[in-house]
Symmetry: C2
Subunit: 134 residues, 2 copies
Amino acid sequence: MKIIYMHAPIQAPSPAKDQPVDNILEDEDIALIAKALSHPARIQIIRLLLSKKTCIGGDIVDVIGLAQSTVSEHLRILKASGIIIGEITHPRVCYSLNPPRLHPIKDFLGLLLDSDAGAPDVESVCWVSPEKKQ
Amino acid sequence: MKIIYMHAPIQAPSPAKDQPVDNILEDEDIALIAKALSHPARIQIIRLLLSKKTCIGGDIVDVIGLAQSTVSEHLRILKASGIIIGEITHPRVCYSLNPPRLHPIKDFLGLLLDSDAGAPDVESVCWVSPEKKQ
DNA sequence: ATAGTTCATCGTCGATTAACGATATGAATG
DNA sequence: CATTCATATCGTTAATCGACGATGAACTAT
């Protein structure tokens, strides 16, 4: 039996699996968060929310410089992943960060970088046969 | 003038931009790395490379359980992003991690989590009007 | 030279993403 | 009850992704 990785809609947990190693579920969660972070506009939004500390209305649209509907979509993705939170007030929505949601990927990266004790840089290791491009 | 975010092919730096804030380039790089991490199979591959320390041949294919060409594609993406390195030997290729490449996103996450000093968890803040589904 | 092994690449297909404009919602106000 | 403002959603389009099988290198070893 094989696993089929479907294009996972960005949304928290996920049904269930079984296979190979054992931390498939965790891997999926990490991939999910990474997917939410995989667009510069969304990184920009997060940075904005970080700088303004408290939440922000649709000023985000002005800063990002994309259409309102597009920004709204990016916000939806970030919300769905749990990275940001939206609090409705007037006709406005105040967004703010939910940093704890980033722990899975942060821990994962920590794992990788811990193993990196004075590791040689790319150039010193890479490619034996240079004619094989990339 | 507006920025058009194209579907960026996963590949290191990027031509050039100018606009809004100022760390657009850094944001793009972070998004790039995040995109490389945005698939569970790729997380799995990274985890595998981490556990085996030294490099590995196409045993990866067996572990991941996807077609050889598919795994090769995932490896290509990871390579293109700079996260892994491939060293050609026999007819084989030994892959290994290049942790330093993860610093940009790791630092970014660090920034976010530093701002998280005893922050309240999601449930205690979120959504004012519950009938508005997600 | 010829086989064999291991990867990479190509071509294809369906699904997803990202962008936009246009339209719908929803709460507070007049 | 009709307006209005700020968002969300819808419908569309083009581009990208993920998966696969089949084919094409590259290098060993026979």
